[in-house]
Amino acid sequence: MNAALSTTAERMAMLPPDVPRDAMIVTRNLQREYDMGGEVVRALRGVDVTIRRNEFVAIMGPSGSGKSTLMNMIGCLDSPTGGEYWLNGFRVSELADDELARIRNKEIGFVFQTFNLLPRATALHNVELPLVYAGIGAKARVAKATEALRKVGLADRMHHRPNELSGGQRQRVAVARALVNDPSIILADEPTGNLDSATSAEIMQLFEELYAGGQTIVLVTHEHDIAAHAARQVHLLDGRIEQDFLTEKSS
């Protein structure tokens, strides 16, 4: 099993020969079929995409294009029915449930449209959660979570619960939670979908800062102006990649 390989270099050597050595996400002919009451729905019909370290990629597409399915695959929340997927050298397309959970914990930081914070827990505790599942001790957890919250500018809101925070602040907590375990990628699913335009801009600003700091970010959205913040855009249509291009920066 790939996950047993200890160093990143060893894992990278197992990748297909034609991919760059700093590839973070590699999919080859990735397929996903759903059985909807006897009728087979082909959500992904062979997706080949390579995302390198420190890229900021937006995945776009109308609803039904397969972008959510692709996001679930990349986020290791679902397994493909065909093709292969490597994440940071791990061949995750063949991992079992609990191994996927470990990959999600260590390699991926999720940011959701609806924030998905635990309502009864403080901001600090929410950010600590991935570290809890990583088995890190209480002291180190608090230190790392505090650092992550400071990074997103919420050091003074650590002990507030989500319902005492504004939407933008909640999403910042979620970003801090995504960052706290030093993941390979941050996977943001419509992160501004529930925010007004001013707050959206703030959050996108935050993503750009993280990108500038070397973070790999994958953003799923259907809004062109949000996708424009990313350096590269991948457009999906009917389960295939329709377009894959670099964003032209207007500035």
């Binding site: 929340l77 449930d97 609990d98 959970a101 999720f110 998905n116 914070l117 599942y133 990583a134």
Partner: protein, 404 residues
């Protein structure tokens, strides 16, 4: 995932739904309390019987007058035990170490203006020794008192209260039994009724000879209690006095005895096994309510899993394994049942103590019962928590994250 964290999360979610948690726990509390109280009641009854067995004294047999039988058919002439029979056993039965004849009737007893009706027992001086009594106040009448037909009375523990006085103050007072004055010379220690039909603490002892000649006017005995000599098997003792009694009653060889022999310990042993069955019955009925409490836990845990589907999805996305989620919900169920069990033990013990204090019932809260109830309530949490926890752990994170 660290266990401490899991337990903290469990308590957090329990605090978040106080009323619901309280109602769910109530099921377990009532269940455990019922088990504890019922077992305490049963154990108390058992111990009362045990105490009575121990207080009876060893190797005691009681002979009652019976009917004579002729080839298995009861004849009409009732025979009786007399003081002569008791004397004959004393004299001729070598394997019998003590003979206590008893003559008993319920009589009017007066002290001042107090008038009660209680059992008056004419017996010999060795009654207290054979029956394992002590005489905390005053003294027992002596063999000499008996022979000289003294009008002395020794009261059972409850009698002074029935007559409206305390035991110490009774000594030296004069009561009248069937209009004849008796001096109170002693009060016996308490034995307790032990759930039996007649309470030995409510009787009054008077010397046998006094009873025979001054009160009853007959030599007929209610019973003779004999003590088989130490080291002699009861069966041999029975054979020994049966031989004497059959001779005295002129029973032909082959004919049935015209008296009955009862081994009091045997009777009580039967009573004891009956109370054991009674305890088991009570406990199992109470156990049913504990089961219902467990179903309550399962119900609320299923509701909780549904309510917190989103949370489960988030936790899974952040790296919780199936095992993590399973443990979390299982521990929540067990915290419910554990806390409920602890409160139930307090309530049950309180109820048992209250029953003892207020209703005067024999109850005993045994540490074993507490331990078993605690373990059982935890097991209920485990058993009824496993299914909801498994459901939670098997949720698909994608579906769970989108759950509204």
């Amino acid at each position: 995932m660290l266990l401490g964290e899991t337990i903290a999360v469990a308590f957090q979610s329990i605090r978040a739904n106080k009323l619901r948690t309280a109602l769910t726990m109530l099921g377990v509390i009532i269940g455990v309390a019922a088990v504890i109280a019922m077992v305490a009641l049963g154990t108390g009854a058992q111990r009362a019987v045990e105490e009575r067995i121990n207080s009876l004294g060893a190797n005691l047999l009681t002979i009652y007058a019976g009917q004579s039988f002729n080839r298995g058919v009861a004849s009409n002439n009732r025979v009786s035990l007399t003081t002569d029979d008791a004397d004959a056993i004393t004299k001729d039965a070598r394997l019998i170490s003590a003979v206590v004849p008893e003559m008993q009737t319920s009589l009017q007893v007066k002290l001042g203006n107090k008038n009660i009706n209680t059992n008056v027992l004419g017996t010999t001086a060795n009654y207290t020794e054979v029956r394992n009594y002590t005489v905390p106040f005053g003294r027992m009448f002596s063999q000499g008192d008996n022979n000289s037909r003294q009008r002395f009375a020794v009261l059972g523990w409850d009698v002074p209260e029935m007559l409206g006085g305390n035991p110490a103050a009774m000594i030296g007072q004069t009561i009248s039994i069937r209009g004849i004055p008796f001096e109170i010379i002693g009060v016996l220690n308490q034995k307790g009724s032990g759930g039996s039909w007649s309470n030995p603490d409510e009787q009054i002892l008077i010397p046998l000879q006094t009873a025979r000649y001054r009160i009853f006017g007959t030599d007929r005995l209610r019973s003779i209690t004999v003590q088989v000599a130490e080291g002699v098997p009861l069966e041999q003792g029975i054979v020994d006095f049966e031989r004497v009694l059959r001779r005295e009653h002129k029973i032909r060889p082959g004919a049935d005895n015209d008296f009955q022999v009862r081994n009091q310990q045997e009777i009580l042993a039967t009573q004891q096994s009956a109370t054991q069955v009674f305890t088991a019955l009570l406990a199992s009925i109470a156990g049913v309510s504990l089961l219902v409490g467990g179903i309550g836990i399962m119900n609320i845990m299923l509701v909780s899993v549904t309510e917190r589907t989103r949370e489960i999805g988030v936790r899974k996305a952040l790296g919780a394994t199936r095992g993590n989620i399973l443990t979390q919900f299982l521990i929540e169920a067990m915290v419910l049942s554990f806390v409920g069990g602890a409160l139930g033990i307090l309530l049950g013990s309180g109820t048992a103590i209250a029953l003892a204090r207020l209703a005067g019932w024999n109850t005993y809260v045994s540490p074993t019962a507490i331990g078993v109830a605690f373990v059982f309530s935890a097991a209920v949490g485990l058993f009824f928590g496993i299914w909801p926890a498994r459901r939670a752990s098997r949720l698909d994170p994608i579906v769970a994250l989108r759950y509204e």
